[in-house]
Amino acid sequence: MGEMEELRKEMENLKDQITAARKTFQDSTLQEAAAGVTVVGRVQLKTRKTLRGHLAKIYAMHWGTDSTLCVSASQDGKLIVWDTITTNKVNAIPLKSSWVMTCAYAPSGNLVACGGLDNMCSIYNLKGKDGNVKVMRELAAHTGYLSCCRFLSDTEIITSSGDCTCVLWDIETGTQKTVFAGHQGDAMSLGVSPDFKYFISGACDFTAKLWDIREAECRQTFGGHESDINAIGFFPNGNAVITGSDDATCKLYDLRADQELLTYQDSSIMCGVTSLAPSKSGRLLLAGHDDFNVNIWDMLKAERVGVLAGHDNRVSCIGVSSDGMACCTGSWDSFLKIWN
């Protein structure tokens, strides 16, 4: 009993230490630093393409690195690879389990992955010899739903799960290389750093964590949200993290200052954030909400500068292509839209 009490005291001391350390480095705010910057003018993006074909809610989408192809996952039990310029379906892959919650495109363009309530991450080879797309691997070990997955390469993928852990997998052997444990709630979303050395995870414990992939440890934990974090992404230079939460706000955390810099919120926005993506320069933050809209924020000034209204149901996923040319939104209305 005595040891537990001592450990609890030490835990509280360390938490206070972290709070104090962060305060000492808080010599200014991003508001002050950006005081001289003019707010971005009104951003009005138009729907350029509507991708029709799914027969049920779309839960996830991910751009390929060529900025032309993208993959989407729907609870109609299909993964569709789209050519976003022609709107043609390049592949329509039937899934074993229709309860899919996430999908990912490998940087090489050779593989796609998906998973959901089956607790597994299934890897599909798009470039098989006979032209048929088949399951290449089924990564099974999570004891909870698969909420998100992102490829590091054709041989490694990271997953986040309702079992509160994230896992780095060896795709060839189908085994877990590293289990990243620490979240006290379902891990809902993950993002990989531009240099592929780190990843961030957002969870139902209201925190975001930064993980060192090779050292296999959590480096930093960020709090402040008042509800589940559903979406997370890196600022384009890899030095900051953006989160989106059921508390209807997004937050910007700087990794080097180890603290929150800004909160993106408006009293008129009362619906949870489901998804987010920064524009190529990081200046714009696009956030999808439960209220069918996407809000566009000036990330430096924390002012809303635009809205994308075009879906007839919740926006469940969003992504900006690598060349920054377009934003893709996916919705429970079964459509994907390309905007710019």
Binding site: L7, A33, N237, A257, D258, R283
Partner: protein, 68 residues
């Protein structure tokens, strides 16, 4: 025994907090200035921010060709 396993779990929490407490930090003024600089430096290469001419937009509405 649940008692000792919760002590093991607590030791891990404390160890993790020690790690997080000990990281090197940078002043917010510096971090904020760097973020701002990145945004401004890359603004011109951000098509969603700057807009683009129809001729350079890969998603531009397709013109309809008709045979004369």
């Amino acid at each position: 025994m649940s008692g000792s396993s919760s002590i093991v779990a607590m030791k891990k929490v404390v160890q993790q907090l020690r790690l997080e407490a000990g990281i090197n930090r940078v002043k917010v003024s510096q971090a904020a200035a760097d973020l701002q600089q990145f945004c401004l430096e890359h603004a011109q290469q951000d098509p969603l921010l700057c807009g683009m001419a129809t001729s350079t937009n890969p998603f531009r509405p397709q013109k309809v060709c008709s045979f004369l």
